[in-house]
Symmetry: C2
DNA sequence: AGTCTAGTGATACCCTGTGTCAAATACAAG
DNA sequence: CTTGTATTTGACACAGGGTATCACTAGACT
Protein backbone atom coordinates (compact mmCIF):
# COMPACT_ATOMS: atom_id res chain seq x y z
CA UNK A 1 0.00 0.00 0.00
CA UNK A 2 1.24 3.43 -0.87
CA UNK A 3 2.76 5.75 1.63
CA UNK A 4 0.06 8.37 1.00
CA UNK A 5 -2.75 5.94 1.27
CA UNK A 6 -1.37 4.42 4.45
CA UNK A 7 -0.68 7.74 6.09
CA UNK A 8 -4.00 9.37 5.34
CA UNK A 9 -6.34 6.46 5.04
CA UNK A 10 -8.27 7.24 8.19
CA UNK A 11 -8.94 10.82 7.25
CA UNK A 12 -10.08 10.04 3.70
CA UNK A 13 -13.63 9.35 2.62
CA UNK A 14 -14.21 5.69 1.80
CA UNK A 15 -15.00 6.58 -1.80
CA UNK A 16 -11.49 7.97 -2.18
CA UNK A 17 -9.73 5.00 -0.62
CA UNK A 18 -11.83 2.72 -2.79
CA UNK A 19 -10.72 4.46 -5.93
CA UNK A 20 -7.14 4.53 -4.70
CA UNK A 21 -7.23 0.80 -4.17
CA UNK A 22 -8.40 0.30 -7.70
CA UNK A 23 -5.45 2.31 -8.93
CA UNK A 24 -3.15 0.02 -6.96
CA UNK A 25 -4.94 -3.05 -8.27
CA UNK A 26 -4.33 -1.83 -11.81
CA UNK A 27 -0.63 -1.42 -11.10
CA UNK A 28 -0.50 2.33 -10.66
CA UNK A 29 0.99 4.17 -7.76
CA UNK A 30 -1.05 6.22 -5.37
CA UNK A 31 0.68 9.55 -5.23
CA UNK A 32 -0.21 12.83 -3.61
CA UNK A 33 -1.42 14.47 -6.85
CA UNK A 34 -3.58 11.48 -7.72
CA UNK A 35 -5.11 11.33 -4.27
CA UNK A 36 -5.82 15.04 -4.45
CA UNK A 37 -7.66 14.64 -7.75
CA UNK A 38 -9.66 11.75 -6.32
CA UNK A 39 -10.66 13.84 -3.35
CA UNK A 40 -11.66 16.75 -5.54
CA UNK A 41 -13.65 14.50 -7.87
CA UNK A 42 -15.60 12.83 -5.08
CA UNK A 43 -16.31 16.24 -3.58
CA UNK A 44 -18.10 17.44 -6.73
CA UNK A 45 -21.81 17.06 -7.09
CA UNK A 46 -22.69 15.73 -10.49
CA UNK A 47 -20.45 16.13 -13.49
CA UNK A 48 -17.33 18.22 -13.43
CA UNK A 49 -14.64 19.42 -15.74
CA UNK A 50 -10.92 19.69 -15.22
CA UNK A 51 -11.13 23.38 -14.45
CA UNK A 52 -13.52 22.73 -11.59
CA UNK A 53 -11.20 20.11 -10.17
CA UNK A 54 -8.34 22.54 -10.27
CA UNK A 55 -10.40 25.31 -8.68
CA UNK A 56 -11.44 23.00 -5.87
CA UNK A 57 -7.85 21.97 -5.27
CA UNK A 58 -6.61 25.53 -5.25
CA UNK A 59 -9.25 26.42 -2.70
CA UNK A 60 -8.48 23.41 -0.52
CA UNK A 61 -4.79 23.81 -0.03
CA UNK A 62 -2.93 23.59 -3.29
CA UNK A 63 -3.18 22.00 -6.64
CA UNK A 64 -0.79 19.81 -8.60
CA UNK A 65 0.11 21.03 -12.05
CA UNK A 66 -2.76 21.12 -14.49
CA UNK A 67 -0.97 18.50 -16.58
CA UNK A 68 -1.13 16.03 -13.72
CA UNK A 69 -4.82 16.66 -13.27
CA UNK A 70 -5.43 15.97 -16.94
CA UNK A 71 -3.25 12.87 -16.73
CA UNK A 72 -5.12 11.57 -13.70
CA UNK A 73 -8.48 12.21 -15.30
CA UNK A 74 -7.33 10.39 -18.41
CA UNK A 75 -6.05 7.51 -16.32
CA UNK A 76 -9.34 7.21 -14.48
CA UNK A 77 -11.20 7.25 -17.78
CA UNK A 78 -8.95 4.54 -19.18
CA UNK A 79 -9.55 2.44 -16.07
CA UNK A 80 -13.25 3.02 -16.51
CA UNK A 81 -13.55 4.63 -13.09
CA UNK A 82 -14.60 7.90 -14.66
CA UNK A 83 -17.05 8.41 -17.51
CA UNK A 84 -17.08 11.18 -20.00
CA UNK A 85 -20.39 13.04 -20.00
CA UNK A 86 -21.65 14.17 -23.39
CA UNK A 87 -23.80 17.24 -23.26
CA UNK A 88 -25.61 18.60 -26.28
CA UNK A 89 -22.83 21.16 -26.68
CA UNK A 90 -20.32 20.61 -23.93
CA UNK A 91 -18.42 17.33 -24.14
CA UNK A 92 -15.76 18.14 -21.61
CA UNK A 93 -17.31 16.94 -18.39
CA UNK A 94 -16.74 13.77 -16.43
CA UNK A 95 -18.67 11.76 -13.90
CA UNK A 96 -17.37 9.35 -11.29
CA UNK A 97 -18.65 5.82 -11.48
CA UNK A 98 -17.72 2.58 -13.08
CA UNK A 99 -19.17 0.60 -15.87
CA UNK A 100 -21.68 1.12 -18.62
CA UNK A 101 -23.32 4.31 -17.41
CA UNK A 102 -25.72 6.78 -18.90
CA UNK A 103 -26.85 10.10 -17.54
CA UNK A 104 -29.84 12.33 -17.12
CA UNK A 105 -28.59 15.89 -16.97
CA UNK A 106 -30.33 19.00 -15.74
CA UNK A 107 -29.77 21.64 -18.39
CA UNK A 108 -30.28 24.41 -15.85
CA UNK A 109 -28.23 23.47 -12.78
CA UNK A 110 -26.10 20.66 -14.18
CA UNK A 111 -27.08 18.04 -11.63
CA UNK A 112 -26.82 14.53 -12.95
CA UNK A 113 -28.37 11.13 -12.34
CA UNK A 114 -26.78 7.96 -13.60
CA UNK A 115 -28.73 5.00 -14.82
CA UNK A 116 -27.68 1.67 -16.19
CA UNK A 117 -30.50 -0.03 -17.98
CA UNK A 118 -30.92 2.08 -21.07
CA UNK A 119 -33.10 -0.38 -22.94
CA UNK A 120 -31.59 0.12 -26.36
CA UNK A 121 -31.14 -3.58 -27.06
CA UNK A 122 -34.29 -3.66 -29.14
CA UNK A 123 -33.19 -0.62 -31.10
CA UNK A 124 -29.78 -2.17 -31.64
CA UNK A 125 -31.31 -5.35 -33.01
CA UNK A 126 -33.65 -3.46 -35.28
CA UNK A 127 -30.82 -1.35 -36.68
CA UNK A 128 -28.45 -4.27 -37.09
CA UNK A 129 -31.09 -5.88 -39.28
CA UNK A 130 -31.95 -2.79 -41.27
CA UNK A 131 -28.42 -1.48 -41.76
CA UNK A 132 -26.23 -4.57 -41.66
CA UNK A 133 -23.99 -2.96 -39.04
CA UNK A 134 -22.66 -4.97 -36.14
CA UNK A 135 -23.28 -2.57 -33.27
CA UNK A 136 -20.92 -2.84 -30.34
CA UNK A 137 -21.44 0.22 -28.18
CA UNK A 138 -23.66 3.21 -27.75
CA UNK A 139 -24.12 6.58 -26.19
CA UNK A 140 -27.37 7.54 -24.50
CA UNK A 141 -27.77 10.79 -22.60
CA UNK A 142 -30.99 12.50 -21.59
CA UNK A 143 -31.49 16.19 -20.89
CA UNK A 144 -34.14 18.09 -19.05
CA UNK A 145 -34.93 19.80 -15.79
CA UNK A 146 -34.38 18.29 -12.37
CA UNK A 147 -37.19 18.37 -9.80
CA UNK A 148 -35.66 21.33 -7.98
CA UNK A 149 -35.29 23.43 -11.13
CA UNK A 150 -38.78 22.43 -12.24
CA UNK A 151 -40.17 23.80 -9.00
CA UNK A 152 -38.19 27.04 -9.30
CA UNK B 1 -32.70 35.64 -54.43
CA UNK B 2 -29.02 36.20 -54.02
CA UNK B 3 -26.74 36.99 -56.86
CA UNK B 4 -24.70 33.86 -56.22
CA UNK B 5 -27.67 31.61 -56.08
CA UNK B 6 -29.19 33.09 -59.22
CA UNK B 7 -25.99 32.94 -61.20
CA UNK B 8 -25.06 29.38 -60.30
CA UNK B 9 -28.34 27.76 -59.60
CA UNK B 10 -28.34 25.61 -62.71
CA UNK B 11 -24.90 24.19 -62.05
CA UNK B 12 -25.52 23.38 -58.40
CA UNK B 13 -26.76 20.08 -57.02
CA UNK B 14 -30.37 20.27 -55.85
CA UNK B 15 -29.30 19.51 -52.28
CA UNK B 16 -27.22 22.68 -52.27
CA UNK B 17 -29.95 24.92 -53.67
CA UNK B 18 -32.37 23.42 -51.18
CA UNK B 19 -30.14 24.32 -48.27
CA UNK B 20 -29.51 27.75 -49.75
CA UNK B 21 -33.24 28.37 -49.93
CA UNK B 22 -33.58 27.50 -46.29
CA UNK B 23 -30.93 30.05 -45.46
CA UNK B 24 -32.91 32.64 -47.36
CA UNK B 25 -36.13 31.57 -45.66
CA UNK B 26 -34.47 32.11 -42.30
CA UNK B 27 -33.43 35.62 -43.29
CA UNK B 28 -29.78 34.97 -44.09
CA UNK B 29 -27.99 35.86 -47.25
CA UNK B 30 -26.62 33.31 -49.65
CA UNK B 31 -23.07 34.41 -50.20
CA UNK B 32 -20.17 32.84 -52.05
CA UNK B 33 -18.49 31.50 -48.87
CA UNK B 34 -21.72 30.01 -47.60
CA UNK B 35 -22.50 28.38 -50.92
CA UNK B 36 -19.01 26.97 -51.02
CA UNK B 37 -19.42 25.41 -47.59
CA UNK B 38 -22.76 23.95 -48.60
CA UNK B 39 -21.19 22.42 -51.69
CA UNK B 40 -18.34 20.98 -49.68
CA UNK B 41 -20.68 19.59 -47.05
CA UNK B 42 -22.98 17.87 -49.54
CA UNK B 43 -19.92 16.41 -51.25
CA UNK B 44 -18.78 14.60 -48.11
CA UNK B 45 -19.83 11.04 -47.47
CA UNK B 46 -20.97 10.64 -43.91
CA UNK B 47 -19.83 12.88 -41.12
CA UNK B 48 -17.21 15.55 -41.59
CA UNK B 49 -15.29 18.06 -39.56
CA UNK B 50 -14.37 21.62 -40.38
CA UNK B 51 -10.88 20.64 -41.46
CA UNK B 52 -12.25 18.29 -44.07
CA UNK B 53 -14.52 21.00 -45.40
CA UNK B 54 -11.59 23.34 -45.72
CA UNK B 55 -9.44 20.70 -47.40
CA UNK B 56 -12.17 19.98 -49.92
CA UNK B 57 -12.56 23.68 -50.66
CA UNK B 58 -8.84 24.21 -51.10
CA UNK B 59 -8.73 21.31 -53.54
CA UNK B 60 -11.75 22.53 -55.48
CA UNK B 61 -10.69 26.06 -56.26
CA UNK B 62 -10.23 28.08 -53.15
CA UNK B 63 -11.51 28.33 -49.65
CA UNK B 64 -12.98 31.16 -47.68
CA UNK B 65 -11.27 31.98 -44.42
CA UNK B 66 -11.48 29.31 -41.77
CA UNK B 67 -13.50 31.68 -39.62
CA UNK B 68 -16.22 31.85 -42.23
CA UNK B 69 -16.34 28.09 -42.47
CA UNK B 70 -16.79 27.83 -38.72
CA UNK B 71 -19.41 30.54 -38.83
CA UNK B 72 -21.34 28.80 -41.58
CA UNK B 73 -21.18 25.47 -39.81
CA UNK B 74 -22.45 27.10 -36.63
CA UNK B 75 -25.22 28.82 -38.54
CA UNK B 76 -26.33 25.56 -40.12
CA UNK B 77 -26.31 23.90 -36.71
CA UNK B 78 -28.38 26.71 -35.24
CA UNK B 79 -30.86 26.37 -38.09
CA UNK B 80 -30.96 22.65 -37.46
CA UNK B 81 -29.78 21.89 -40.98
CA UNK B 82 -26.62 20.29 -39.64
CA UNK B 83 -26.33 17.93 -36.70
CA UNK B 84 -23.39 17.49 -34.45
CA UNK B 85 -22.18 13.90 -34.38
CA UNK B 86 -20.97 12.66 -31.02
CA UNK B 87 -18.38 9.95 -31.20
CA UNK B 88 -17.15 8.11 -28.16
CA UNK B 89 -14.08 10.33 -28.16
CA UNK B 90 -14.38 12.69 -31.09
CA UNK B 91 -17.20 15.20 -30.77
CA UNK B 92 -16.20 17.51 -33.57
CA UNK B 93 -17.97 16.06 -36.54
CA UNK B 94 -21.14 17.11 -38.28
CA UNK B 95 -23.72 15.49 -40.46
CA UNK B 96 -26.10 17.12 -42.94
CA UNK B 97 -29.75 16.57 -42.37
CA UNK B 98 -32.60 18.23 -40.60
CA UNK B 99 -34.56 17.35 -37.54
CA UNK B 100 -34.27 14.93 -34.72
CA UNK B 101 -31.57 12.64 -36.03
CA UNK B 102 -29.46 9.90 -34.56
CA UNK B 103 -26.56 8.03 -36.06
CA UNK B 104 -24.99 4.66 -36.40
CA UNK B 105 -21.28 5.14 -36.93
CA UNK B 106 -18.69 2.74 -38.24
CA UNK B 107 -15.76 2.94 -35.87
CA UNK B 108 -13.40 1.72 -38.56
CA UNK B 109 -14.21 3.69 -41.72
CA UNK B 110 -16.39 6.43 -40.28
CA UNK B 111 -19.38 5.83 -42.53
CA UNK B 112 -22.64 6.88 -40.96
CA UNK B 113 -26.31 6.00 -41.19
CA UNK B 114 -28.98 8.27 -39.83
CA UNK B 115 -32.15 7.03 -38.22
CA UNK B 116 -35.07 8.81 -36.69
CA UNK B 117 -37.11 6.51 -34.54
CA UNK B 118 -34.84 5.88 -31.60
CA UNK B 119 -37.51 4.37 -29.38
CA UNK B 120 -36.42 5.99 -26.16
CA UNK B 121 -39.90 7.25 -25.25
CA UNK B 122 -40.40 4.35 -22.89
CA UNK B 123 -37.04 4.96 -21.24
CA UNK B 124 -37.84 8.64 -20.93
CA UNK B 125 -41.13 7.89 -19.19
CA UNK B 126 -39.53 5.40 -16.85
CA UNK B 127 -36.81 7.84 -15.87
CA UNK B 128 -39.17 10.77 -15.48
CA UNK B 129 -41.05 8.69 -12.95
CA UNK B 130 -38.05 7.39 -11.10
CA UNK B 131 -36.01 10.61 -11.05
CA UNK B 132 -38.63 13.35 -11.14
CA UNK B 133 -36.86 15.04 -14.05
CA UNK B 134 -38.81 16.52 -16.92
CA UNK B 135 -36.83 15.19 -19.87
CA UNK B 136 -36.87 17.34 -22.98
CA UNK B 137 -34.19 16.05 -25.29
CA UNK B 138 -31.73 13.24 -25.70
CA UNK B 139 -28.66 12.01 -27.45
CA UNK B 140 -28.51 8.52 -28.93
CA UNK B 141 -25.57 7.36 -31.00
CA UNK B 142 -24.61 3.80 -31.87
CA UNK B 143 -21.18 2.52 -32.80
CA UNK B 144 -20.01 -0.58 -34.56
CA UNK B 145 -18.80 -1.92 -37.85
CA UNK B 146 -20.49 -1.30 -41.18
CA UNK B 147 -21.19 -4.25 -43.50
CA UNK B 148 -18.17 -3.47 -45.67
CA UNK B 149 -15.75 -3.31 -42.74
CA UNK B 150 -17.30 -6.45 -41.26
CA UNK B 151 -16.51 -8.31 -44.47
CA UNK B 152 -12.95 -7.00 -44.58
C1' DA C 1 -24.56 57.86 -55.98
C1' DG C 2 -25.00 57.45 -50.84
C1' DT C 3 -26.04 54.98 -46.88
C1' DC C 4 -26.82 51.03 -44.08
C1' DT C 5 -26.40 46.38 -42.64
C1' DA C 6 -24.90 41.65 -42.97
C1' DG C 7 -21.11 39.24 -43.92
C1' DT C 8 -15.98 38.47 -44.64
C1' DG C 9 -11.12 37.54 -43.65
C1' DA C 10 -7.01 38.13 -40.90
C1' DT C 11 -5.50 37.60 -36.73
C1' DA C 12 -5.27 37.29 -31.85
C1' DC C 13 -6.98 34.72 -28.48
C1' DC C 14 -9.36 31.03 -25.46
C1' DC C 15 -10.03 26.27 -23.90
C1' DT C 16 -9.01 21.48 -23.68
C1' DG C 17 -5.76 18.73 -23.94
C1' DT C 18 -0.98 16.20 -25.22
C1' DG C 19 4.33 15.81 -25.81
C1' DT C 20 8.81 16.58 -23.84
C1' DC C 21 12.20 16.35 -20.58
C1' DA C 22 14.75 17.20 -16.44
C1' DA C 23 13.90 16.58 -11.66
C1' DA C 24 11.49 14.25 -7.92
C1' DT C 25 9.78 10.27 -5.64
C1' DA C 26 7.45 5.59 -4.69
C1' DC C 27 8.52 1.24 -3.82
C1' DA C 28 11.25 -2.97 -3.54
C1' DA C 29 15.46 -5.17 -2.71
C1' DG C 30 19.56 -5.34 -0.04
C1' DC D 1 17.96 2.69 6.63
C1' DT D 2 20.09 3.06 2.00
C1' DT D 3 20.22 2.33 -2.67
C1' DG D 4 18.47 1.50 -7.40
C1' DT D 5 15.21 2.02 -10.84
C1' DA D 6 11.00 2.76 -13.00
C1' DT D 7 7.16 5.75 -12.47
C1' DT D 8 5.40 10.13 -11.87
C1' DT D 9 5.57 15.04 -11.63
C1' DG D 10 5.64 19.88 -13.07
C1' DA D 11 6.81 23.43 -16.21
C1' DC D 12 6.25 24.71 -20.50
C1' DA D 13 5.72 24.44 -25.45
C1' DC D 14 2.55 23.14 -28.66
C1' DA D 15 -1.72 21.31 -31.15
C1' DG D 16 -6.66 21.26 -32.44
C1' DG D 17 -11.13 23.24 -32.33
C1' DG D 18 -13.44 27.23 -31.98
C1' DT D 19 -14.70 32.45 -30.83
C1' DA D 20 -13.91 37.69 -30.55
C1' DT D 21 -12.47 41.67 -32.71
C1' DC D 22 -12.29 44.86 -36.14
C1' DA D 23 -11.39 47.08 -40.40
C1' DC D 24 -13.19 46.23 -44.68
C1' DT D 25 -16.54 44.69 -48.51
C1' DA D 26 -20.72 43.48 -50.93
C1' DG D 27 -25.53 43.84 -51.60
C1' DA D 28 -29.92 46.08 -50.55
C1' DC D 29 -32.56 50.27 -50.15
C1' DT D 30 -33.52 54.96 -50.93
Amino acid sequence: MSRYLKARQDSLPPAVTNLAKQLVAAGYKVTAPRLAVLQAATAQTGAFNVQEIEDWLVQHGDSPGIASIFRTVKLLCDLNLLQRVHGLDDCHRYSLGAGHGHHVLCTRCGVLVRFDNCGVQELVQRLEQSTGFRISSHLVELFGLCPRCLAA
